[in-house]
């Protein structure tokens, strides 16, 4: 769907993107993650052809990125805005037509979305008469109206109340089911971890990590288990294959040292304690990010 190849973007004082490359599969939900100022927005602007890279190229559906692709991409910027004095209906129509929709087509689609998101009475209202949350909804409709094949959402959930965030998340998932490729860009990694199939981590203008979420997390597994127990305690009766990382009243963390399986660990523990829970600790993307960044430093 989208191949990003060796993108470099230099601003006067600093390098915003330094040789960034990764790929996004068609139909996937992709997380573009990294702290504030890492270069996410710079990259998104390049994908949207708002700015051009100094070197490197982007391949969209097998072709070099060009102005024909504009109508196939939907973009919700981090800083949102609408014309305050313009009527909502008219405004969405205008934005849709700028994306290349015909007037009739755009009108039909606006009506469909207004119906769907219960915004029917808003047509004649002006943006300044709406609440923040309502404005976000309008903005979302304007972003997806032209049925883009690639939807780029920059910090999509900031400013939404939980109810609306839920509605919008469901709409995004529905679009994804219909085949839309989605890019989430955010610095709040935990918010999209569950939604994303793949991610790329950007830190200080460089890509530090990318791949499928499950694979990344598996590769960062450290064979550590958290065990809940009641009654008694180990009292040091742990075989040398295992080491006790931490322990408290009824929970302990144990790391396996050699190639033993989780069943072996259970067997070793059963004689001494009564086990109430047993779970492998798989690091979160956030943990992995922190780990990677500290390693790189």
């Amino acid at each position: 769907m989208l191949k990003i190849k060796n993108i470099v973007k230099q601003y006067a004082q600093h390098k915003a993107l330094d040789d960034v490359s990764f790929e996004i599969e068609k139909g996937s939900i992709f997380g573009l993650l990294g702290p504030n100022g890492a270069g996410k927005t710079s990259l998104i602007r390049i994908i949207n052809q708002i700015t051009a890279p100094d070197s490197g190229e982007i391949i969209f559906q097998g072709e070099k990125l060009n102005p024909n692709h504009i109508s196939k991409i939907g973009y919700l910027p981090e800083e949102r805005g609408l014309y305050k004095k313009m009527e909502i209906g008219e405004q969405i129509l205008y934005l849709a037509r700028l994306k290349g929709l015909s007037s009739a087509d755009a009108t039909l689609k606006v009506k469909y979305w207004f119906e769907k998101l219960e915004m029917k009475d808003w047509w004649k209202k002006k943006v300044e008469e709406l609440s923040k949350g309502m404005q976000q909804k309008v903005q979302f409709v304007a972003t997806v109206l032209h049925e883009p094949e690639l939807l780029i959402l920059d910090e999509p959930f900031t400013g939404f109340d939980p109810v609306n965030a839920e509605i919008i998340t469901n709409e995004i998932l529905e679009l994804n089911k219909k085949g839309t490729t989605i890019i989430f860009s955010t610095h709040r990694m935990e918010s999209v971890e569950k939604l994303c199939d793949s991610i790329a981590l950007i830190h200080k203008s460089k890509k530090v990590l990318d791949g499928k979420v499950t694979e990344i997390r598996n590769s960062y597994r450290s064979q550590t288990y958290e065990i809940g127990f009641s009654a008694n305690s180990l009292n040091g009766n742990l075989p040398s294959d295992y080491s006790l990382v931490s322990t408290s009243n009824n929970k302990m963390t144990i790391k396996m040292n050699s190639n033993t399986s989780s069943n072996d660990l259970l067997k070793a523990l059963i004689p001494y304690v009564e086990i109430t829970s047993f779970e492998e600790i798989v690091p979160s993307i956030n943990d992995i990010f922190i780990q990677t960044v500290t390693e790189n430093n």
Partner: protein
């Protein structure tokens, strides 16, 4: 291209539909009408406003008996009492003014007194002064044995006709009228560049602070957005101008038909009675008067040529300046920050206007006038005035050509500043910074 049309359409409609546009468009011709009607009313009926008035004349010189002429509003009464008794009588009467003329000898200056309860108008004071001067002059001339017939022939009205010698023979030159029209056009261009240039700047700032700009430039190129805005607002300006012309013409012709038809005779009568000229003299004034001359000249003006120049210089000047205004708007976060950038733009424009009012009329072919009418930043205003003096064709073509080069260049520069500026927030921008933006990829 289709997208730029959409932007032009939005910029145009969103402004034309605004209440302020409609109000301004219709109120201005209305104001012109009120002003026009007011002037006519004042000329025709101004004297009647004060109502009838009576003036008691105490003539101590003995030469003014029945010399003042009564008219519709002013009645002169002659008192034979001395001034102190006349004052007492005046206090008890209903007369408005008491005029005391002292004995007149050989002195160069004499002092005349008007007594009244209320302040007499300037018009009355000066017309009484003129009247007295005339009477004294006539008397002195008569005393010197000069015939009144010769007196009447003393004054000769002179009018200067300008004719140009060209290869086709003599042509009536029309400097006064064309200069007037040129000046009006220059003023309109100056006004419109400011008015609508600032609107472009405001529009850009609005989009930037609204943050909608990023949504839009993910659909269209920044340059299209900028040009769409500039062209859309230019069309608003032309629409407003056209409506003003149409409405003003309509309104003044209606007012003219209603008021002037009846009032014209009144005006002439009033002028005659207040200046005391005869019909024959009036005729002479009309034939050689300035108004007549201007009317005659208006007929010789090449209106299509002037209008063509106006539209060309208006559009050229507007495009150039509004592109710069757009660049300023893109570089700042709010309107208060625009000051430092506005100054270098407004100075050439104000300078051009001052020069075209003060220097060009006196020295239309001076080096200053020539260069300012060639340089694109000032030519839209200065050249419009110079056109009245028949500029050589090559100068006009050079000026127009350079204006086109000028606006293509400024639009290019502005476009480069604009596309960087609209995405730049929270940064105090300097001129040096703007220079760097020109060379970003």
């Amino acid at each position: 291209m289709n997208k730029i049309l959409l932007i032009i359409r939005r910029e145009y409609l969103s402004r034309v539909k605004k209440k302020s546009f409609i109000v301004l468009t219709f109120v201005v011709p209305l104001l012109i009408m009120i002003m026009y009607a007011g002037v006519i009313f004042l000329i025709a009926d101004g004297d009647k406003l004060s109502g009838p008035r009576s003036i008691v004349v105490v003539d101590e010189s003995g030469i003014f008996a029945n010399q003042f002429k009564n008219d519709a509003t002013t009645t002169y009464l002659y008192s034979t009492s001395d001034i102190e008794t006349a004052k007492e009588e005046f206090k008890n009467s209903k007369n408005d003014f008491l005029l005391q003329i002292p004995p007149i000898g050989e002195e160069k200056r004499i002092r005349v007194q008007i007594f009244s309860e209320k302040q007499p108008g300037i018009g009355l004071v000066s017309s009484i002064g003129d009247e007295i001067e005339n009477v004294i002059r006539d008397k002195k001339l008569l005393d010197a044995n000069i015939d009144t017939a010769i007196l009447n022939n003393l004054s000769t009205k002179v009018s200067v006709d300008t004719k140009k010698l060209t290869e086709d023979g003599e042509k009536d030159a029309s400097t006064i009228a064309t200069f007037g029209i040129g000046l009006v056009c220059a003023f309109l261009i100056y006004l419109f560049i400011f008015l609508y240039g600032v609107q472009v700047m405001r529009g850009v700032i609005e989009e930037k602070t609204n943050r909608i700009v990023e949504v839009i430039i993910s659909s269209v190129r920044p340059f299209q957005l900028m040009m769409g805005k500039i062209i859309g607002i230019a069309m608003v300006g032309l629409t407003q101008f056209l409506l003003w012309v149409i409405l003003s013409v309509a309104v003044t012709s209606v007012v003219g038909a209603v008021f002037v038809g009846g009032a014209e005779k009144n005006i002439i009568e009033n002028v005659q009675s207040s200046t005391g000229v005869t019909d024959a003299e009036m005729q002479a004034v009309q034939e050689t008067g300035v108004m007549e001359k201007v009317m005659k000249e208006l007929g010789t003006i090449n209106f299509p040529f002037i209008l063509g120049c106006f539209i060309f210089y208006f559009l050229g000047g507007y495009l150039m300046y509004s592109a710069l205004f757009a660049a300023i708007g893109s570089a700042v976060d709010n309107e208060t920050e625009t000051q430092q950038f506005m100054l270098p733009i407004t100075i050439p424009l104000i300078f051009a206007f001052i020069i075209s009012v003060n220097v060009v009329p006196n020295a239309p072919d001076s080096a200053l006038a020539f260069w300012l009418s060639i340089i694109p930043l000032t030519s839209p205003v200065v050249m419009m005035v110079r056109i009245a003096y028949e500029v050589p064709t090559w100068e006009l073509l050079l000026s127009m050509g350079l204006l086109i080069v000028g606006f293509v260049f400024t639009v290019w520069i502005a476009g480069r500043i604009y596309r960087t500026g609209i995405l730049m927030y929270g940064k105090k921008v300097t001129f040096k910074e703007l220079g760097k933006w020109l060379f970003y990829k």
